[in-house]
Amino acid sequence: MKKVVIPKMGMATTEVDILTWKVKEGDAVKIGDIMVEIESEKANVGIESEYNGIITKILHKDGETVPVGEAICEIDES
């Protein structure tokens, strides 16, 4: 089981907003698929999947503010 976390972005970004999830629990993802769009004070970014697998759990929903480094979903690698 792999956790996807909010990456470090920019020199002072401490938290980001989750804009839109592009996948839901149960969906399959491939390496490179954009899973979610997030917004920091500096930019909007899409977070890509680093694994092939199934989304097992979404930990934070659309509209939530999440600190950098926090896990936002879990993936079961296939």
Partner: protein, 323 residues
């Protein structure tokens, strides 16, 4: 009504002022590509004559700001990191801040320093990238504003730019992403005027920067236990709104100062001394300060959390009062 993030509110304030006054030039490192995000889009809009990337030369950067200011231009100097203030310390406190006085009022230095910090709990930026540095320049009598929210940030940065003296505009890292309703038109918030963010009766909490929101959160928590906090945001550290502080403390008789700079000779010390000296008769209990432990900020997260205060420290100190 439109919401803007604090960083974008600062950006909009500077941009609108630069659109209004063509004599404003902004200088800094990596500001054309806007590494810190404040000047995003400025190079495209205002051009290379007004948006200048300097070499890694803080002494020349600040000195150039002074020379520009003496010569009919209104410069804004962006520091990439708050510690870079140390590199140019002579030019800031020994030159820019002193020239007006030493010249008998003949030299005028209308420069604005924008200092975005990275210092905050959880940033893991370690000893040389985590400082809050305004206390060092306050001692020289430099005007300093620390907006706590996006609305104040835009109004204060515009006022700072219009001020004819050096002003340091300090942007705490933890404030940068926060959203608030920000009017689209130009507006100013005067220097030297603080604000009561939440009225209360038992303890005055004077909070600086991102600690304003922390104090408001704690006020909700302690409010449920029957302890009423009054949250006071000075907004400008120098000149200080002494009357606002006096009115609050004369009502509550108790004060906690929470500031994210070092405890020794930090801004909380100045507030505490002023309150003890001039408002002693109103006090029912000793003044309490919550500030940073005086060590270089350690890298590892548990240690960093230990030395930089946050919500729990404020809650603990609130409960130390006999109310």
């Amino acid at each position: 009504m439109r919401e803007l993030r604090y960083l974008h509110a600062v950006q909009e304030g500077i941009k609108q002022e630069m659109q209004k006054n063509r004599n404003i030039i902004i200088l800094g490192e990596d500001i054309r590509h806007s590494l810190r995000g404040i000047t995003k889009g400025f190079f495209e809009e205002f051009g290379g004559e007004r948006v200048i990337d300097t070499p890694l030369s803080e002494i020349a950067l600040v000195g150039a700001g002074t020379g520009l200011a003496l010569s009919g231009v209104r410069p804004i100097v962006e520091f990439q990191l708050s510690e870079f203030v140390f590199l140019a310390f002579d030019q800031i406190v020994n030159q820019a801040q002193k020239l007006r006085y030493m010249s008998g009022g003949k030299l005028s230095v209308p420069v604005t320093y924008i200092v975005p910090s990275m210092g905050s709990r959880g940033g893991s930026m370690a000893g040389q990238h985590s400082d809050i540095t305004y206390s060092y320049v306050l001692q020289a009598g430099m005007k300093v504003v620390v907006p706590s929210n996006a609305y104040d940030a835009k109004g204060l940065v515009i006022s700072a730019i219009r001020e004819d003296d050096p002003v340091m505009v300090y942007l705490p890292a933890k404030c940068l992403a926060k959203k608030d309703i920000v009017p689209e038109e130009i507006y100013t918030i005067p220097l030297g005027k603080g604000i009561i963010k939440k009225a209360g009766n038992d303890i005055t909490v004077i909070a600086i920067g991102h600690f304003v929101q922390v104090a408001l959160d704690v006020a909700d928590i302690t409010g449920e236990k029957g302890i009423s906090l009054e949250v006071l945001d000075p907004r400008t550290l120098l000149p200080l709104d002494k009357d606002l502080i006096k009115n609050s403390i004369s009502k509550t008789g108790r004060v906690i100062i929470i500031d994210d700079s070092n405890k020794t000779c930090g801004f909380a010390s100045e507030l505490a001394a002023f309150i003890a000296e001039e408002l002693f008769d109103y006090l029912k209990a000793p003044i309490r300060r919550i500030a940073r432990t005086v060590v270089p900020v350690p890298f590892s997260a548990p240690m960093e959390s230990f030395v930089i205060p946050d919500k729990q420290e404020l809650i603990d100190v609130v409960h130390e009062f006999d109310i």
